[in-house]
């Protein structure tokens, strides 16, 4: 079997799985820190209990995030050795800084926080969880500095012998405009993920009438504000990112919209069944002018189509197929935006209940809010699938193709890859079961279980 295919399959498996856990870490660490700060400032016991409760769920989730993160770091060398040789000069730097700046901070202060409840003054203890939250979100920044180079390379030149890209301008790498579009989107996605978990668990307790009604009302209040702000931010950030993408990676946008021909004004697809072989629609419902509006805030403006871009790239980069999997890009975009829309509705509904101080939930409204915690997971995963699959055939846009990046099959053969895929599938499957079991147990048990 083809090692390129297997290596991509493994990367998809391990990175999607890793990113199940990361956004919740980003969002829930800040939420826990807010609860503990409320305790330090008001002295009210319920805030301390809530900080411990959400902190417990954070920890169960964090452990899996950490161990799957190590796999990510190793994997660039294990499966993508030619990629590592080509971009190590640039890509390795943010990765090393991420460990040095963010991971040390996060893990050391998490240890201090977990074990320090009785050993540290209150304010110092609250500072520890803020440092954990800072570490988590700093790690997102640095890994996105690395990813942004793959999406939109800056601050480099090619080595004289053409063997690799070399960094020439570190500040350019850090202030890559792409970073500052992607980072707010990912962090807001994290807030949203955390916020929805808080809404879901709180609404469940309120619906079931468990013993911690007052604390979970408070929790729902903070959670719905948090999730609502998060969802608004993630939508706005996503919108600006899209406008940026049209300039940097028009092919990704065209694929996400199944836009075969250039259009001016360009239409937005509501539903398309396409034919990827012949690059045409079988069936499509499109809103005229809407894509131009999304792209340029105006109902006029050309958005280039897949066919025109393919020709453009052949002229620029030589013969080859520069069209990503349109069906993947198209549907991942729709899942992301669809989940985002539902999140706005769900967060608005929770906020409406909170503003009316109505904390009673029927079976229907409680269940709907409970299951809404899945929405951010759908959006997070499909967002990354779009970002990475929509960039194909490139691994580093315009510089290196994915097929050139994989470890040679003389070093890692298909058998070894099949073995590692099987191992990761089994281990990750088991981790999911255990993690869900524990999260469910602690979420349902309420405040006293975390004491």
């Amino acid at each position: 079997m083809d090692t390129l295919f297997l290596a991509r399959l493994q990367f998809a498996l391990t990175s999607v799985f890793h990113f199940f856990f990361v956004p919740l870490t980003l969002g829930l660490s800040i939420f826990t820190a807010i609860m503990e700060t409320a305790w330090v400032r008001t002295g009210k016991e319920k805030y301390r209990q809530l900080a411990r409760f959400w902190g417990h769920l954070f920890l169960i989730n964090f452990a899996v995030g950490v161990v799957t993160g190590i796999v990510m770091e190793f994997q660039f060398g294990m499966n993508w050795s030619e990629y590592a040789r080509f971009v190590g000069d640039i890509f390795g730097v943010p990765l090393a800084i991420e460990a040095l700046l963010a991971f040390f901070l996060e893990s050391t202060f998490l240890g201090i926080w977990v074990f320090g409840w009785d050993r540290l003054p209150k304010a110092l203890h609250a500072t520890a969880i803020w440092l954990v939250a800072l570490g988590s979100n700093l790690s997102a920044l640095w890994i996105l500095v690395a990813n942004s180079f793959m999406q939109s390379p800056v601050g480099y030149h090619m080595a004289a012998n053409g063997s690799r890209a070399e960094m020439t301008d570190f500040p350019a790498l850090l202030f890559n405009p792409y970073v500052w579009k992607q980072f707010p989107h990912v962090v807001a996605g994290g807030l949203t993920t955390g916020g929805f978990l808080v809404i879901a668990v709180s609404a469940w307790h309120l619906m079931k009438g468990t013993r911690d009604q007052e604390a979970f009302s408070t929790s729902l209040k903070f959670g719905s504000i948090y999730a609502f702000i998060g969802t608004l931010l993630v939508t706005l950030a996503g919108h600006t990112q899209m406008q940026d993408l049209i300039r940097h990676q028009p092919m990704k946008v065209a694929a996400a919209e199944a836009l075969w021909e250039s259009e001016n004004p360009a239409s937005f697809s509501l539903f398309t069944v396409g034919n990827e072989k012949e690059l045409r629609d079988e069936f499509a419902i499109r809103v005229p002018g809407m894509l131009s509006f999304l792209a340029y805030n105006s109902f006029n403006g050309e958005v280039k189509g897949i066919k025109a871009l393919q020709q453009e790239y052949v002229t620029k980069y030589g013969p080859g197929n520069y069209i990503p999997s349109v069906i993947t890009a198209y549907w991942s975009f729709r899942f992301m935006v669809g989940a985002g829309t539902l999140m706005l509705l769900a967060a608005a509904f929770a906020l409406y209940k909170v503003i009316r101080e109505d904390y009673s939930f029927s079976r229907l409204s409680g269940s709907l809010l409970f299951w809404s915690f899945l929405l951010p997971y759908i959006a997070n995963s499909s967002g990354w699938i779009l970002a990475e699959m929509g960039r194909q055939p490139w691994i580093v846009f315009g510089l290196l193709k994915t097929e050139q990046a994989v470890t040679p099959s003389s070093v890692v053969n298909a058998g070894e890859l099949l073995l590692s895929i099987a191992v990761f599938a089994v281990v990750y499957g088991a981790l999911t079961l255990v993690d869900v079991f524990l999260l469910k147990k602690y979420a349902a048990a309420g405040l006293h279980a975390a004491e």
Binding site: I60, A63, V66, V67, G69, I70, V71, E73, F74, F76, G77, M78, N79, S81, E82, A84, R85, V87, G88, D89, G92, V93, L95, A96, I97, E98, A99, L100, L101, F103, F104, L105, S107, T108, F109, L110, G111, V114, F115, G116, R119, L120, A159, R164, E166, M167, F170, T407, P408, S410, V411, V412, E416, S420, V423, V427, L431, V434, L438, K441
Partner: protein, 337 residues
């Protein structure tokens, strides 16, 4: 000193941090089944490393990141070439990492003994594999003229590397036992002290066998000379002195000595490597060195600045966390894990 040498030293420092710190929590994990079968004993043992193990592991992640950034060819050849070994290492890291967090979260005997087993096996596999990996750097592995690994998994499991694996397994276990004597009281302390005293002899003998084998199997002593210099000698002396400290119940000193032994052995291996980073067993000219494997001077310069600012900062706050949790744990202490 050139930037490549500075980064070779920094990578060595990161590995020392990893082996000295994570080394004792490997040891504690390995000793878990031998420190008592009651749940409270086991919880106390795990809690001695509770606040630290995750931060200790970041030394490995940072070392990996630093290799990637400073010596991309080393990172690429090593991680792709040692594929099955690293897969095993990853599974072990995953199993023991989540086990610490999950174990106490559910009160059921089968559940807890399953995670105990993960902690033990994960720690033991890692303690062994790191010795195997490091000794292969210096012994040499099949690397071809284009820097690609040309061997299989079996090439890594040679007798020399296995001798180093056994030595590192026992040294880390001893290091963990001595750490436990520092962090526990009463019966647990006595058990840890008994284990440490018993472990000293095999750990020392296996280390000496490995040292002797190094003389035969690698060019380390040809390079360093018959008198290898102060660092290897201090490493041996430190290890020999551990039993004296243990007999005097001077746990603090014994711990300092196992730490010195581990740190100085690591330095010895890296000294023997320098300026190579991965020796080719096929042709000495095909070895990876700090010059043919390194990043550009610009990148190394940026990384040097970052490291000089943040490594000391990390040392300060990690040191502070060890200070906060300096007390010994008794069986009736309040336990988080």
């Amino acid at each position: 000193m050139d930037l490549q040498t500075i980064w070779f030293i920094l990578v060595t420092v990161l590995f020392i941090g990893f082996f000295v710190l994570e080394g004792f929590d490997f040891g504690v994990g390995i000793l878990l089944p031998f420190m008592g079968s009651e749940d409270n004993d086991r919880r106390t043992v795990i809690n001695t490393i509770g606040p630290f193990w995750d931060g200790n592991e970041v030394w490995l992640i940072t070392a990996g990141g630093a290799m990637f950034a400073a010596f991309p060819e080393w990172y690429a050849t090593l991680f792709s070439g040692f594929y099955p070994a690293l897969l095993l290492m990853l599974v072990a890291l995953i199993a023991r990492g989540v086990a610490f967090e999950f174990r106490s979260k559910h009160d059921n005997r089968t559940w807890r003994s399953f995670w105990d087993w993960c902690i033990f096996a994960g720690s033991a596999i890692l303690a062994l594999l790191w010795g195997v990996a490091l000794s292969n750097f210096i012994r040499g592995v099949p690397i071809d003229s284009s820097m690609q690994y040309a061997g299989g998994f079996i090439d890594l499991l040679n007798p020399y590397a296995l001798s180093c694996g056994l030595a590192s397994l026992f040294i880390f276990t001893l290091h963990g036992a001595v750490f436990l004597t520092l962090k526990t009281t009463g019966e647990l302390h006595d058990r840890a002290m008994g284990l440490a005293r018993k472990l000293w002899a095999p750990a020392t003998i296996l280390s000496m066998i490995f040292a002797g084998y190094t003389y035969v199997a690698t060019d380390l002593f040809q390079r360093l000379g018959v008198n290898p210099g102060a660092i290897p000698i201090f490493s041996v002396l430190a290890l020999l002195s551990v039993i004296v400290m243990l007999k005097k119940n001077a746990s603090g000193w014994a711990f300092a000595m196992t730490a010195v032994a581990i740190a100085f052995s690591t330095i010895t291996i890296f000294l023997g490597l320098y300026p190579r980073v991965l020796v080719s067993s096929l042709n000495p000219d095909w070895s990876l060195t700090i010059y043919n494997a390194s990043s550009s001077p610009y990148t190394l310069g940026i990384m040097t600045t970052v490291a000089l600012v943040f490594v000391p900062l990390v040392l300060i706050y990690q040191g502070w966390s060890y200070w906060i949790f300096r007390q010994r744990l008794a069986r009736d202490s309040k336990l988080e894990y």
